[in-house]
Symmetry: C2
Subunit: 278 residues, 2 copies
């Protein structure tokens, strides 16, 4: 989604040229391109699919069939992790507690199905500003509590810096998630102000905002996280630019803002990719 302006083949090509070893895919462009064709395309380029985004929206009344389809799509892509955005309040409801109960019930239905397909579910707490309309799960503590009834290989959490950077309890939750084997995905975005209307497209390029991304990387490292690190930006300004250029910039920013030891020499050389290991 960081470069939704790029067709899937251009995205895969740009990642391969820049030495980005994997990509997180969203369902809509995958379906538009064709599920099997997308799987072949990514595999042929030597990339992995780090996660599939996204299923969930459990508080809607009719989410079950679509969520099973998402599990099947993740399996077909070879993505071991399906990201869950759990859904906000049902229309007319003011009961966040009940919404969270519905999410727990729906997880209990979906988790075994996902396990049968070799796919892990990763609950993503969204920033509290989305609690009403997108996700009643607002903190890592809540996400972990929802995951805990299930085996860690079935249900874990996503740490997305944009959503949790403000939370003084999040570092301890990261450590607990790591110790429990439930740290299934790490996503990076920076926090910039002012927020845009609707607050959906304000995710800042790494280094443009006030999130101490290197500190979050240290936290997840200390928690034992060795999985992929995704950069997920929804940003109108980035979407309006050349997609390949945005990916190259994002790689430079990742090196500068996230890596402990930025590689010496030129910041970017697409002919000789040298992305430090995540």
């Amino acid at each position: 989604m960081t470069v939704r302006q790029l067709p899937l083949p251009s995205l895969v090509d740009a990642c391969a040229r820049l030495g980005v070893p994997g990509i997180g895919l969203w369902r809509e462009p995958v379906r538009a391109y064709g599920l099997k064709a997308a799987a072949r395309l990514v595999q042929a380029a030597g990339l992995t699919v780090t996660t599939l985004c996204r299923a969930g929206f459990f508080t809607a009344s009719d989410s079950s069939a679509d969520n099973r389809a998402a599990v099947e799509e993740a399996a077909a892509l070879g993505a071991d992790t399906l990201v869950l955005v759990c859904g906000g309040l049902p229309p007319g409801s003011r009961d966040l507690t009940r919404a969270r109960e519905r999410i727990a019930d729906a997880l209990a239905e979906l988790a075994p199905y996902a396990a049968d397909h070799g796919v892990r579910l990763a609950i993503e707490p969204l920033h509290p500003m989305y609690a009403a309309d997108r996700c009643a799960v607002s903190t890592l503590d809540q996400a972990l509590a929802l995951a805990e009834p299930f085996p860690s290989t079935q249900v874990g959490v996503v740490v997305d810096t944009y959503h949790v950077w403000w939370d003084d309890r999040a570092p301890a939750a990261v450590a607990r998630a790591g110790a429990a084997g439930r740290l299934h995905s790490l996503q990076l975005a920076d926090w910039t102000v002012p927020l845009p209307a609707g607050v959906l497209t304000g995710r800042g390029q790494l280094g443009d905002g006030c999130v101490d991304l290197r500190a979050w990387r240290r936290l997840t490292d200390a928690a034992g996280y060795t999985g992929p690190i995704e950069v997920e930006l929804f940003n109108e300004d980035l979407w309006a630019r050349d997609g390949a250029e945005v990916i190259a910039e994002t790689v430079r920013r990742y090196r500068r803002e996230v890596c402990e030891h930025p590689s010496p020499g030129p910041r970017e050389n697409p002919a000789h990719p040298s992305l430090p290991p995540a």
Copy 2:
């Protein structure tokens, strides 16, 4: 601020006619009208000043003098409670922990001064979407932790439904704050989506959003809160309307959405005010 379009005399007059027993004032219009004149105006109408908004912004380098002035203004108005918006990250900083330490240090300086003037400080946690630029204190738990080193008569917290409605830990914090005598102010606003750009003027009229206001009233009642209940709306649509009409509507909404036992008969009759006790 709910009706910032109203000059202070019109505001006081409308409140008195509608049976609203007190008003929360902001410093800017009070200073524009004149501090002593404002105090006389409110007193002559038989109203109380429920709180003065606002001091704080402790993370700025030069807040001390202005905060002492705010204490003096509150005392002059007969307001026993000064609301604190504690400030976000200093320019260029990414360190929320350090910002919170600065807030604690500044509180230690201001609290005795406020006590000497008979004014209580009330720390208002702001919604996490303001953590970067307005208030590094995002939860009632954090606000209570900041208040605890001081006597409860000196430092307490504000419960503002707009800021804390999403937080599953807030109800327990309300109970703790009440038991400790630190529940110093209750402010109501509803949560509506989509949020406007900048997210400052999206506070919804009572009943227009998804906050269970009656449940929050029950929580604060159960916590022993018997102080005033303020309705604080920042909303461009309300500011564009006739101010007296907005106050009357707000009284109707308060009765309908917050009171346990809405008064029977006509919803509003300015000639015979019958606002249930807060």
